[in-house]
């Protein structure tokens, strides 16, 4: 019946727990701390983005326009090497008659790399000289390495008769971004789970501070139990974590990062928030004072998070698999399991809170 439903919702909104939750959120808003938290996360996101751009521009020459490496090749195996170098997109080779000529070009800046080749004992020996301490160093070495590996493959094929096992053929490169997974496997889990951690940390502060300043006694004068107070606080903190996480995902997809399985990710974050906040409540009521509680909480969460990476479904990997759209049934089961764990832990912690003597705090 819709009317009684509406009545139910209204009654629920007047709920004591929600009143506490709303008050918690108001305080957060007034202290502007939540804004600070968002700024921090934005900073993390910005710098990680910078990191990705930096890494890609260092290692993926295709994205650095105009960086063309000129290589000076000299010695017995020049022809073979030149063929291999010309296969590379961002490297061109010029043959020189002697090492002295090649190094002259290198020092005059006409070449950024010198390959001195010689054939000894049926092997090609190459001395690769790269510029020292310049922005091109890494690029020269990694591109030079690509060229030399191409040369190695060709030479191996020529010596195939002498090999007992044949190396596998290498498919041609299509310029895929080798750091494509960085966004999903590092940045996204970081942004998704940081709000969860922050929520837990605020919960510890919120409870221990009331105990410390004696304001919990004032609250207890009101007709409300400790469990209800804690419920309200926890509710507020659990609510803000998935909201922030979803905001980050929205920001990422605005930046062109395709994100799949939004609903599942939401469920994962919410369940994780429940687990972490419940853990925070338990530490806050258990430990003797704020410093101990805060220390216990942060060390504990880090430990548990590290330990969770040894489970078949670890949170960071699950978030990455969901977002990159490579999830399997096991991944979805993992989310369901997290939700179940969250329910059990939340119920357990509520039992614990019910047995705490509020007057002894």
């Amino acid at each position: 019946m819709p009317e009684s439903d509406a009545e139910g919702v209204r009654a629920w909104l007047r709920n004591k727990r929600l009143t506490i939750a709303k008050r918690e959120l108001r305080v957060l808003g007034r202290e502007k701390t939540i804004i600070l938290a968002l700024v921090i996360q934005l900073f993390v996101a910005g710098f990680s983005g910078f990191l990705v751009v930096g890494l890609v521009s260092l290692y993926d020459p295709a994205s650095v326009e105009g960086l063309q490496i000129e290589a000076a090749v000299t010695g017995d195996a020049s022809d073979e090497l030149q063929v291999a170098i010309d296969q590379q997109d961002s490297m061109t080779a010029t043959e020189y008659n002697s090492s002295a000529d090649a190094f002259e070009a290198f020092e005059a800046g006409r070449a950024q790399a010198v390959f001195e080749t010689s054939i000894r004992e049926d092997r090609i020996q190459v001395i690769l000289t790269a510029p020292e301490g310049s922005i091109e160093t890494t690029l020269v070495v990694s591109e030079g390495q690509q060229a030399l590996r191409a040369l190695e493959r060709t030479e191996r094929t020529e010596r195939a008769a002498d090999l007992s096992v044949q190396p596998l053929e290498l498919p041609a490169d299509r310029g895929g971004n080798p750091y494509f997974d960085f966004t999903y496997t590092v940045l996204l889990p970081l942004l998704v789970f940081l709000p969860v951690f922050i929520s837990g940390s605020i919960t510890v502060d919120s409870i221990t501070e009331e105990v410390d300043r004696g304001t919990l006694e004032l609250l207890r004068v009101a007709p409300i139990s400790l469990t209800e107070i804690v419920d309200g606080k926890a509710l507020a903190m659990i609510a803000i974590a998935p909201i922030q996480a979803m905001a980050w995902l929205a920001l990422l997809s605005l930046n062109g990062v395709t994100i799949a399985n939004w609903g599942w990710l939401f469920g994962l974050v919410t369940a994780s928030a429940v687990v972490v906040v419940a853990f925070a409540v338990a530490t806050a009521l258990f430990a003797s004072d704020r410093r101990a509680a805060q220390l216990l909480f942060s060390v504990g969460v880090l430990l548990l998070f590290a330990a969770a990476s040894f489970l078949p479904v670890n949170p960071a990997n699950t978030a990455a698999l969901l977002a990159i759209d490579s999830a399997t049934t096991l991944t979805y089961l993992g989310v369901v399991a997290t939700v179940l764990v969250a329910v059990v832990i939340a119920a357990g912690v509520r039992l614990f809170v019910g047995r705490v003597d509020a007057n002894a705090l």
Binding site: I40, S99, I127, L128, E152, E169, T185, R291, Q294, A320
Partner: protein, 652 residues
């Protein structure tokens, strides 16, 4: 005598702070901690027992359709980022796999030619071997990335295969030596004789007979080119399974510490071997090790911030305040144990990872920055909740500020804005000049001292026990440093380390962008940073009614602030030591300040005039109210940016 009494008092406070009664780690907390460790351990244990040991974060993110009898099956299976899926072309179309390695046929000559579909693209293998198979990837960014990862996996698989090969000459037909050489002028370097040297190396490669003679040559300039004796390489090759021994470090001093286990685990910078074995000079392992220094800082500042804020709750700090002690003594005493803990942690880590004195000296200013920022944060915060945010902000900001530039250690001098770069350099066995050390650490030392000074200024009853928003507290702290108009010039000068840090950060963030975009942004950003630094304390002074709100006073304060800033700015000349001005961005930042080019007297006076004028503009706004101040600040920034732009254009 007087100093001794003071030191004794500081020592006593430090002892109180460190005594077991005040640190809250009682037995119950320790037991709970122990319980957590056991719990975490049992999760790890059960994970290992059931065989899910330590999944990498990118586990199974690319799905590859492949048959169990394909030669590539073990390649896909052996790479953590690749997951084996059924080789069904329909799955590729429905987006359930990212890549398809086609099933190879009965005679090993099957060419699977997929329909020239718009959604997929086919990659043909070079027809060099007897089996032809094809690889199709989904035409998405993920698909091409999957192919790139697959290539890496195949290369690694081949490397493992070849290592087992009996005929090593056929397996490794190419061997490489990697050496680095400066392209710039060869003067003032050890290897002035480099051109001859190059010939030597070439000969060396040409003929076996020369080896003995050349070996002597090479030991002479062993620190110039990273060559290893070739006979060694051959011996290793014959044993097949080759493990890199880091015998090619440049610095003999680093060679000695074979005892440090971690160092052996990931020795990087391999300079000779097969093409697969050389690696770019990316200081990955050193970087990871340097990061270890930052971990304990986070725990130390958490405890430190807590103890400072504890003093401020329920007026607990009042007892110390009424004692016959100066504020500086109290703060010093309360900080000492945490500083000691930080130094102990740094020294321990440095010993463990094989760093030396330079690592300790480089991380010390970082520790000071962590502590000072947390101190100021704890003095401003109204509640523990706020303190938590401040602590998180401090650690996130400082960690990124010191860690990210260090990634570019071997690439650009900008990396030196972070002291952590010095650690990475030391771990790699590079020499570090005194100029580089000063450039990296001076802003941290100065900045930390100034932050402590600001915090001590508000370590007084009227600020400690009142509830004010953080920005107002900040203004209070600035105001506490002001006495007469002249002190405005001093505070402006004290702002320089922060201005320097902010400007370097801006350079570091923007240097990836193309130069046409980054130069205008940097010019405006720098103008804004400097204008705020010159005027924020003037605003604080007006707000607390320290100065009369007259136009004359505003102009006086503006002029003084400009002069103070101008004088202190000259100290940024230290950046020349590390060659920062050679970078286009560095030049854009430093030229307007008159730091880089040698100029006539008129040009030397121009920055002074600029600073005085713009500071006066902001001061005029500051004497009215916040809105006027912000407006005036905007005008001053625009004037400053226009000046910057003009200067850069003239020099260009």
């Amino acid at each position: 005598m007087k100093l001794r009494t003071r030191l004794r008092r500081i020592w006593r406070i430090a002892r109180w702070e460190a005594s077991p009664g005040s640190t809250s780690l009682d037995r119950r907390t320790l037991l709970a901690g122990l319980f957590l460790v056991v719990l975490a351990g049992s999760i790890v244990g059960s994970g290992l027992v059931f065989g899910f040991g330590g999944l990498s974060p990118n586990q199974d993110i690319y799905r590859v359709g492949i048959d169990a009898d394909s030669p590539y099956h073990s390649v896909v299976e052996g790479h953590s980022a690749l997951a084996v899926r059924p080789a069904d072309p329909e799955l590729l179309e429905s987006g359930e796999i990212d890549m398809l390695v086609s099933p190879d046929g009965n005679s090993g000559t099957v060419t699977l030619t997929a329909e020239e579909d718009a959604d997929t693209s086919e990659v043909e293998l070079e027809p060099t071997s007897q089996s032809r198979i094809s690889v199709i990837h989904a035409q998405t960014e993920k698909g091409t990335a999957a192919l790139t990862t697959f290539r890496v996996a195949v290369e690694r698989y081949n490397d493992r295969l070849m290592a087992l090969e009996a005929n090593q000459t056929a397996a490794y037909p190419v061997s490489v030596q990697l050496q680095y050489r400066s392209q710039q002028s060869l003067v003032d370097r050890e290897g002035v004789e480099q051109p001859d040297d190059a010939d030597d190396d070439a000969d060396d490669a040409d003929a076996d007979d020369d080896d003995d003679a050349d070996a002597d040559d090479e030991t002479d300039d062993a620190d110039e080119d990273e060559t290893t004796d070739e006979d060694d390489t051959d011996d290793d090759r014959d044993t097949g399974d080759r493990i890199d021994v880091d015998d090619d470090r440049e610095d003999p001093a680093v060679d000695d510490d074979d005892g440090s286990l971690v160092d052996q685990l990931f020795g990087d910078g391999t300079a000779s071997g097969s093409p697969a074995e050389i690696s770019p000079p990316f200081p990955f392992s050193s970087l990871l090790l340097a990061f270890v220094f930052l971990v304990p800082m986070n725990f130390i500042i958490q405890a430190y911030g807590g103890t400072i804020l504890n003093e401020r709750i329920k007026r607990r700090g009042e007892l110390l305040l009424v004692a016959p002690l100066t504020r500086l003594d109290i703060v010093a005493g309360k900080t000492l144990p945490y500083l000691a803990a930080a130094v102990a942690a740094i020294t321990g880590i440095s010993l463990a990872i094989g760093g030396g004195l330079i690592s300790i000296l480089a991380v010390l200013p970082i520790a000071l920055a962590f502590l000072s920022a947390t101190f100021v944060g704890a003095m401003f915060a109204r509640s523990f909740k706020e303190l938590t945010f401040v602590t998180v902000t401090v650690s996130v900001f400082l960690t990124t500020y010191v860690f990210v530039p260090a990634i570019f250690t071997n690439v650009t001098p900008i990396a030196l804005i972070s002291p952590l770069t010095l650690v990475v350099m030391e771990l790699q066995g590079e020499a570090i000049g005194i100029g580089a050390y000063a450039f990296s650490t001076a802003p941290f030392y100065l900045g930390s001292s100034i932050l402590f000074l600001l915090g001590v200024g508000v370590y007084r009853e009227e600020d400690m026990f009142t509830q004010k928003p953080v920005p107002l507290k900040f203004l209070d702290a600035l105001d506490a440093r002001l006495r007469g108009p002249k002190s405005v010039a001093v505070v402006s000068a004290l702002m320089i380390p922060f201005v320097f840090i902010a400007e370097l950060l801006a350079i570091a963030v923007l240097f990836v962008l193309p130069i046409e975009v980054s130069i205008p942004i940097i010019l405006v950003t720098i103008a804004a940073i400097e204008e705020v630094a010159k005027s924020i304390h003037i605003y604080a002074g007006f707000e607390s009614d320290r100065f009369g709100r007259s136009t004359k006073m505003a102009l006086l304060l503006g002029a003084l602030s400009g002069i103070g800033f101008f004088v202190a700015e000259k100290f940024t000349a230290i950046s020349q030591v590390v060659g920062l001005p050679e970078l286009a961005l560095g030049e854009a930042t430093l030229t307007p300040a008159g730091v880089t080019p040698t100029a006539t007297l008129a040009l030397l006076a121009a920055p002074l005039a600029l600073h005085v004028v713009t500071a006066a503009i902001s001061a005029l706004g500051a004497k009215r109210d916040l809105r006027w101040y912000l407006g005036a600040l905007l005008v001053a920034t625009l004037v400053h940016a226009a000046y910057n732009f003009a200067v850069v254009t003239i020099y260009a």
